[in-house]
Amino acid sequence: MDMKIYVCVKHVPDSAANIAVKDGNTIDDKISFLLNPYDEHAVTEAAALKKHLGRGEVIAISLGTEDVEKTLRSAMAMGADRSILVKTDRQRDSIFTARALKAAIDQDGSPAIIFTGRESIDMEGMQTMFRLGAAFGFPVASNVIKFTPEKNSATVESQTEGGGKNIYHLSMPCVLGVGRGINTPSYPTFPDVVKARKKEVKTIDVKDLNITPSPSSMSVISLEPFAQERRAREITGTPAEQVQTLVNILRNEAKVLN
């Protein structure tokens, strides 16, 4: 049987987009959305694993509205062989998302490994990979900056503070949330994009997965723009005077120097 490598991806607002709040708890979605930046590294790592093994299939999976197909096409242009879109009408919390992804993966096949990004840049929840691992009973590592596959297991480096690392050994299947240091995504060429258009996107309605809801939930009840107006004041004078003023500000106003 072919080895199945799943990559969970998310369709998120472009990091350069200006976010406008709509209806008090959601955002105006008439902005450009793309593949979550950390997930680019996840897709790249999955494609590299397939290449390393010389076999296997990379399947990108995402939960969201029909628009998410665009992000799945990007994932396929970056190396996924096919994809699954679990259709829902709105943003769901990570508790529900993990259940939906688990159910859709179960329906599709038996994972050898699941990759995802260490967090999404919209909800910044940092937890879906752990919930997914718990649902499957697979071990999980996040913030992974190095992945070494072995026979039925993997050794990973997980980034900690001040440049430190924890090295973990996980049995496979496992779930890995990858960080930026793991690889350098190669952005798709035009032929990659054309090829991705012909790849399969299997659409499943989330209702058809018969997910048992959790008694727990997290919901965004209000959202407000976070724009800080700062009044920029210039520190003038000769460089020596500027530095003296700066030291005075640090000591007397910010009170961060002794």
Partner: protein, 319 residues
């Protein structure tokens, strides 16, 4: 009275300052605060914990025969065991590399709600405030469930001194290491370096730094004022400094009291990571840069002139 657990982070034998704001957050709900101390001697921290209103110190020793200094999977099970034994339904930890490893594992195992990187929490109402959409918005999140877990952003909530007497609860918890997840090695970072997520002062460099070697100017300057060094995405992508130093949308979200941006133009993605700083100071040759128009103070000048002067000035002061 209901109890709130706080996972205490200890570094080099000291309680990290950021713990104290987290304890204040737990105290605000008028509950009993249980400080969970993993594999360390709780008595060593009695004074500081009792000065900030902790009601109980829970000394958790993990592993038994399988004791390891750090195995997040094993430590997760130990914390859950302690929570169950003590009837703790609400748990707080810091949004640091340690908190990022523990909280989501605990939440997943308990199928409990979790909000990371909170800037404020109302435990009674189950409400948390956090930045969403890369720091461009602040969201209020309602959690429901039998437990509630929150990751607190370091240094955003101010500590509140309150005197208490803390009882001591010793809990050796025998948690065998699972064959599925093992710690092979722990490679600590440079302990001389303050971590950017917890630093009071960050001095950051961008494209204008031009090279890895030039970052030494920032490290020297940082050293004189106990600051951490940060970097923009460009500086990281160029390989001048490691990814852990990146501030921004795809890097760390930081909230120091002072952020000094040296030769950073100020992209929307960079602001996403540092706009919660108490004070922003820009040093830039370009007075038109976004960082300059959106800061508190700026010096229109060359960082290669200003930064060494600042280092020199601070070194003299120290003498």
């Amino acid at each position: 009275m209901e109890k709130t657990g706080v996972v205490i982070e200890i570094k080099k034998g000291r309680i990290k300052d950021a713990n104290l704001g987290m304890i204040a957050c737990a105290r605000a709900a008028n509950r009993e605060v249980y400080a969970l101390i993993l594999n360390d001697t709780a008595e060593n921290f009695r004074e500081i914990l009792e000065a900030h209103g902790v009601h109980a110190m829970v000394e958790i020793t993990t592993g038994g025969a399988d004791h390891t200094p750090w195995n997040p999977e094993q430590h997760t099970r130990a914390i859950i065991t302690a929570m169950e034994a003590l009837h703790i339904k609400a748990l707080l930890a810091l949004t640091t590399p340690m908190g990022r490893e523990l909280l989501p594992r605990i939440a997943a195992a308990l199928d409990a709600p979790l909000v990371m990187d909170c800037i404020d929490v109302d435990l009674e109402k189950g409400l948390a405030r956090t930045t969403l959409y890369s720091g461009k918005t602040i969201g209020t999140i309602q959690v429901t469930g039998s437990h509630e877990l929150f990751g607190i952003r370091p240094n955003v909530i101010a500590p509140v001194p309150v005197k208490t007497k803390a009882k001591m609860i010793s809990m050796p918890i025998d948690t065998p290491v699972s064959g599925k997840f093992k710690t092979v090695e722990i490679l600590p970072g440079q302990s001389s370096q303050t971590d950017i997520t917890e630093a009071d002062i960050i001095i950051s460099g961008g494209r204008a730094m031009q090279s890895k070697e030039n970052f030494d100017l920032l490290f020297q300057c940082a050293h004189t004022m106990g600051a951490a060094v940060g970097a923009s995405r460009v500086a990281v992508d160029m390989g001048w400094v490691p990814y852990t130093m990146q501030v921004g949308q795809t890097g760390e979200k930081v909230s120091p009291r002072v952020y000094i941006a040296c030769g950073i133009s100020g992209s929307i993605q960079h602001f996403a990571g540092m706009k919660m700083s108490g004070m922003i100071i820009a040093i830039n040759t370009n007075a038109e840069a976004a960082m300059v128009s959106n800061c508190d103070y700026f010096i229109e000048g060359d960082l290669f002139e200003i930064v060494p002067l600042l280092t020199q000035r601070l070194t003299q002061k120290a003498k």
